[in-house]
Assembly symmetry: C2
Homo-oligomer: 434 residues x 2
């Protein structure tokens, strides 16, 4: 063993301070902790005052015109949950969204869920924070919440919370796509929580605690961990690889391209969803056992890019635009007609683009010993009816890659706009307060 | 969005160079890449010569008296696989172990599985490396291989590979423990691979490629991802928390305590297993829905430590020795009789200690919507018959914590000693070559 001892959780503590220090349980942190020792829920301003200029650079602001976790540079890890709403009481649902908002304001700063955390409350009550992230910093945590179609009306069309008239146009029932093998237990849901962070423990803690706070009001429908981001959402990020070994998301929308984000991501109509977006989730199993036996040339023709550099088969470097018209031997296009890059290209899709934010997943093996691994696809789109459904129909039918994919889960959620620093604001307020 | 753009994969690329650079596909790396351009499998010496003093500090040496991944400071992420051996041909099995050894020598240095990786081989052949870690550095990757009892004899006692007479004494059939809910599909196996790294993509890549290399020779029985280590194995590491929110592994054996490691981990008899150990794996589901409603005091009495600092209830700081004899009010021991700390303490277990190396896992939800999350327990022990079975029997029967746990998977593997730098050496050689 010749390796040097490593830092503890290098991604999350090397730059930040921990919940522990802030809560004053760490030696020398009493002065900081004292600032949080007031009774009642802290106002946002007080919180920020406490953090002050000590705010570490691994905090993503929860507040803003839009929710964080959309154009935020994609963090490395994901915990995603889809929930059923159990209550029939609109006020209880609103109450939970308010509680979640208060919690998110804290945990996204690396704090415990509530001011008293788990060791400052009554010893006879359950801890208010489950504790597994207590020593960790914010790790760029973002929590993004969305509303499923079934929140607005149940399958028989019944209005559940007086929201039916506010069902957004884009929150359609996704059609069955060719080859779909959707499992009920991985599909749909009334609410979704997307927690992204550099540290998976921080992301899991976020989802775990929001679920816990909703005990009796919501139940978990499905949950998905993602271990490696498969898209860049910023020009500052290198392009990662998916489990087929190819760079993924080279042509993804980037946060820096403000006009494209405006055109393809944010809802701009005058509805309550203005400033929000739609989140499409697809659990796409990748059949590695078959893919891995495909030749290098075969794999590259299916994708339309080289495996090494990620350059399009029409030449150049990774970011060289694909030349769909370039012809090769036998008067066949160099970028094959059924290649993924061609079929997904904006030029063959009426200019449609999405902001992809997916993650690799590995969930063990299936009953016959094949690996249940793949891509948990997430895309943020302005309008699923034009921005997702047509392209997915085409890919499912024509894409040579589809032979190696199996869609096993699916969800579509309307993502409300962001929350302001006003302590009275909460997730989804524009939906509930006309 | 006020966060600064982040580095790509901060844990793995900030300190290291990537496979890309080494293979000469990165600009300016041609001189380095050229050194790997010779035909045939590279000798270990040549490899090391190529790496030379440029070897980054995130490489753990694969070679040594013992396999790496045992006393190596526990990395943050795990990919574990249990495999069935399909072949009946002893030489084919040995051939695979040789191939694995050659691959591990490379991937633990941040290199592709073979010299030609995926973009240097024949374009008409499947790539030799599946590619998903191509741009990533070694990330402290360790690959540790073990042999299950069923490799030596099948369930009817039949000798499979002429190894029956070499079945190590400690490789017992684990008994049924009270409360076990073991699932066949998560239990047992002929071989195991434990891949640990700071980057999950690197760990998954390792397992994926070893499985791929074994196509037709082995099949995957089960696979488990772990996202956060739950034990420290070095005094240089802070104690992490499990999903119950408690610090876990405070009293774990530490690599620095050489005599304790010698006493409790390494096999020291004169068998082929000398210098090896036994790996006990238990998939322990944690019933968070119940635990999270337990009071702080209740949780602390069950564990026997405070939730905040991890100090024993008998007082002091995290690393203060537990005083099991201290009495409190009502002449009851302060550290309760049924607390986890008391029942697992060496003083109540004939001095038994194990080197724990477990990970948190989160595998979604079960069919009724409860989270399938918990601890993938891994312990390295000198002798399971004395070092694991008795203590687990006791814990399963008496530990107040057991009410919140469900053991759903199990495995026991003999971990052969390490591999030397001799190119002819391979994993398990002492077993096959008497």
């Amino acid at each position: 063993m010749n390796e040097a001892p490593r830092d503890e959780h290098p991604t999350t503590t090397r730059r930040g301070f921990s919940r522990r220090a802030l809560l004053g349980t760490g030696a020398g942190a009493l002065a900081v902790g004292a600032g949080l020792g007031v009774a009642g829920p802290p106002a946002v301003a007080a919180l920020q005052d406490t953090l002050g200029d000590r705010a570490p650079d691994d905090v993503v602001d929860f507040h803003g015109e839009h929710q964080a976790g959309i154009v935020t540079p994609a963090q490395d890890r994901l915990c995603f949950a889809s929930l059923n709403v159990l209550t029939q009481d609109r006020d209880e649902l609103i109450g939970l969204l308010k509680d979640w908002t208060a919690a998110c304001r804290r945990i996204t700063q690396g704090l415990d869920v509530t001011e008293t955390g788990f060791d400052g409350g009554s010893e006879y009550a359950p801890p208010q924070d489950t504790g597994e992230a207590h020593d960790l910093s914010a790790a760029h945590l973002t929590v993004t919440v969305g509303f499923g179609r079934s929140l607005f009306q149940d399958s028989s069309g019944r209005d559940r919370f007086g929201l039916k008239s506010r069902l957004p146009e884009g929150l359609v029932e996704l059609p069955h796509f060719p080859g779909d093998k959707l499992e009920d237990a991985r599909t749909g849901g009334d609410l979704c929580i997307q927690a992204c962070a550099d540290d998976p423990q921080v992301a899991v803690h976020a989802v775990h605690n929001l679920i816990r706070m909703g005990f009796g009001v919501v139940s978990t429908r499905w949950m998905q961990l993602g271990f490696g981001r498969t898209s860049s959402t910023s020009t500052e990020q290198a392009t990662p690889r998916n489990l087929f070994g190819f760079k993924d998301g080279t042509a993804n929308l980037k946060a820096e391209d403000a006009s494209a984000i405006q055109d393809h991501v944010w809802v701009t109509d005058d509805s309550w969803l203005r400033g929000g977006t739609y989140l499409v989730a697809r659990r796409i199993r990748m059949i590695l056992e078959t893919w891995d036996r495909e030749s290098l040339t075969g794999q590259e023709k299916i994708i339309g890019r080289t495996k090494g550099s990620g350059a399009p088969l029409s030449g150049g470097e990774e970011f060289t635009p694909v030349d769909l018209g370039m012809m090769g031997s036998g008067n066949q296009p160099i970028v094959p007609e059924d290649s993924h890059v061609r079929l997904a290209h904006p030029d063959t899709n009426d200019g449609v683009q999405m902001l992809r934010r997916g993650y690799n997943y590995a969930d063990g093996t299936d009953t016959v010993g094949n690996m249940d691994v793949g891509l948990f696809f997430i895309a943020m789109v302005k309008d699923p009816a034009t921005g997702f459904v047509p392209i997915q129909k085409k890919l499912a039918r024509q894409d040579a890659l589809s032979e190696y994919l199996r869609h096993t889960g699916s969800g579509l959620f309307a993502v409300p706009p962001g929350v302001s620093q006003d302590a009275a604001d909460y997730l989804g307020r524009p939906l509930f307060e006309a």
